[in-house]
Symmetry: C2
Subunit: 408 residues, 2 copies
């Protein structure tokens, strides 16, 4: 757990178990009070009804110390947003979507949240040493049916092999079928593969893929939002899918029937603005019908891809190049920072000008100071965060400190 305060770690471990993943009221509470304050409020019962109903069932039995110890015994670590390893880049898309959602529907559950609200996780349980923080800068999620055909398995494996050979991490869900073929293809290439599990990491699911989870942890990463011991419930797969969507710079659907779990991942991609790609197949195969449907989907068709080159062309044109993103994150040198400021839309720039370096301001205050409507402030802040210009703190937003100019 390194240099992190153990209070924060205990709070994050508590929060990770007290409610189900993607629980909007709890996420909003943490956003308002910070993790330690949120835990105190939950323990004291000093919260909204929604938070109380989401957390009361587990309050009596929760033991975050024991969870952290058990995890450590299994080689699992807890990574929190306060940790330098936190995948800010990948999860920035969820952060942005969450703020837009908050502006539209408030901090309660809403019917658009069915299938998983687009909000960031409160913490991640992680195994493996690959670079978690870099995910999303240039990684590809490969998803599809469990009941895949030989054709689909072949394509998933070859595609993953080709991407991993070019140092592009491959993200998937660890299931049988397309998921497993993609992970295995990346492993054959001795590349990085990332398994995002719906269950606790001490219980690989499906058990028949336990070897795959173990091998992914050696070279890549195995990640879950749920604490050790969590069972693979259906709802956890749906909320897990938003993390797959976020960890991939883009998502490729290799095979899917008309109605399939892959469609849920695709919906998450659309909510958070990640490109969706689909591999065509024989029109005589029901397992390609969902892919063909995605390619025809109006008004936002999936891009038809047939090779790793196709996939890289899509993701490389869809994002801030990873170098730039890295450069303008917290340690951005002054000239990069100036370039980032100059590139901002005028209204986003006004939001930035409404912020202070020391005094943390809430959205209302920033809106009043900048003269920009609240909803636009909410939409601008994640962009400023992503560019390393602004820091979000539990007490509000501040201008991120500019580092001293580097010598030479």
């Amino acid at each position: 757990m390194g240099s992190m305060s153990s209070d924060v770690m205990l709070a994050r471990a508590f929060l990770s178990r007290i409610a189900e993943p993607a629980c909007v009221p709890v996420w909003a509470l943490v956003r308002r009070l910070g993790p330690i304050g949120a835990v105190a409020a939950i323990r004291a019962g000093d919260t909204s009804d929604e938070v109380r109903s989401a957390t009361s069932a587990r309050l009596a039995a929760i033991e975050p110390e024991a969870d952290l110890e058990a995890a450590e015994r299994h080689g699992i670590r807890l990574v929190a947003p306060e940790h330098p390893e936190w995948p800010h880049f990948a999860l920035g898309a969820l952060e942005r979507a969450a703020l837009v959602r908050l502006a539209a529907h408030g901090p309660k559950h809403h019917k658009t949240d069915e299938g998983g609200a687009p909000i960031p996780p409160l913490a991640l349980w992680v195994r493996g040493d690959a670079e978690l923080a870099a995910l999303g800068t240039r990684s590809v999620a490969i998803v599809g049916s469990r009941a895949s055909t030989d054709y689909g398995n072949l394509v998933a494996r070859e595609l993953a092999y080709a991407l991993a050979s070019r140092d592009v991490p491959v993200v998937s869900g660890g299931a049988h079928g397309i998921d497993g073929s993609a992970h295995r293809g990346a492993l054959v290439a001795d590349g990085v593969t990332v398994v995002v599990s719906a269950a606790g990491l001490d219980r690989p699911y499906p058990p028949g893929n336990a070897d795959l989870f173990a091998r992914a942890a050696e070279r890549g990463l195995v990640i879950s939002e749920s604490p050790p011991g969590a069972a693979p419930h259906r709802q956890r797969f749906l909320t897990r899918n938003r993390l797959i969507a976020a960890f991939g710079t883009g998502t490729v659907v290799v095979e899917a029937a008309y109605r399939s779990g892959a469609q849920n991942t695709v919906r998450h991609c659309r909510k958070i603005g990640r490109p969706v790609m689909a591999v065509p197949g024989p029109v005589t195969s029901t397992m390609s019908a969902g892919c063909h449907d995605l390619i025809r989907f109006e008004p936002s068709p999936a891009t038809l891809v047939t090779s790793a080159d196709d996939v890289l062309a899509v993701i490389d044109s869809s994002v801030v190049p990873s170098e730039t993103a890295a450069d303008v994150r917290p340690e951005a040198p002054p000239d990069v920072r100036r370039a980032a400021l100059d590139a901002l839309d005028p209204s986003v720039r006004r939001v930035f000008d409404g912020l202070r370096s020391r005094h943390a301001a809430q959205v209302d205050e920033i809106a009043a100071r900048s003269g920009v409507p609240v909803v636009d402030v909410i939409r601008s802040l994640p962009l400023l965060e992503l560019n390393g210009l602004v820091l979000a703190r539990p007490d509000g937003y501040v201008v991120s400190p500019a580092p001293a100019p580097s010598p030479g």
Copy 2:
């Protein structure tokens, strides 16, 4: 040959042999002088250098009477634009494209004509009793590779079967591979299939498909722009493809490699505004690579289709409904005619108002009378023709005669 003047028939037979198909200078000459005048000018050598160079080689040996007699012996008839059987609807798209081309490049050959200028044929040699005039109102061209796979043959056959079962004529080129599979599928459904041949109809090409040509002639049509005896030269395939594009309300590519003859048909479709569809297939098959490329083609991607329903949805949304087109053709009753007039763009309506019922006017005169620029007059006339409002005659354009109101 029925009620048609035998002079016109002889002239059309002459024109069909004197130059290669899609010869722009000869087409322009016929447009200006009519078929009889054009033949007289060619025989007298009283033409442009381009016409002379396109026609001189065959002038000495040409025998249109013998051609017509030989055709009749083979059960082949000559159909000319003056004939009620002429497929005005299908060829209107070529007529329109030809006029636009004429305005842009004049009556000489131009580099854009490589692969076949988008001009109508001067006459068609036809075998079979299916309704030639109705082609293009709701028909589908199915094209693709000769080196097709089992998958492609299966899809072509099933698609053609399903379309023909619904009384949708299937148009193709009579070749091995996808063409043959499409024709056979339509024949199995006891439907109408249309073979558009690049060679003379007395020499089915490829010879191995002679049975197919014979069966297509029984239930459907076999058509060639070239007279009996013409050999299947490469250029004749390219110019033939524009007729396939025109005879289909839309064209479906079932299998095609990256570079293939199907691409030429697709280019013709784009030139004349016919929708292009493509069937996806395994990304592991080079025979589907051309289809996937078409689906991704920017800025005018082919529509991905997987079934006859998909194809019908595309063609039914792409054209003037066939009923309407039929209603407003020459015998349009007054109220339909009025509705067609009311639906015109103002500038097209001005062109119409610049026309007279008895006095045939050339484009220049219509432009002067209507105050509409020449290029817009040229673009408007085919639309007016297509709606049955205007007649094109060798001496110019006239308002088409309104039939007497029907009793009742």
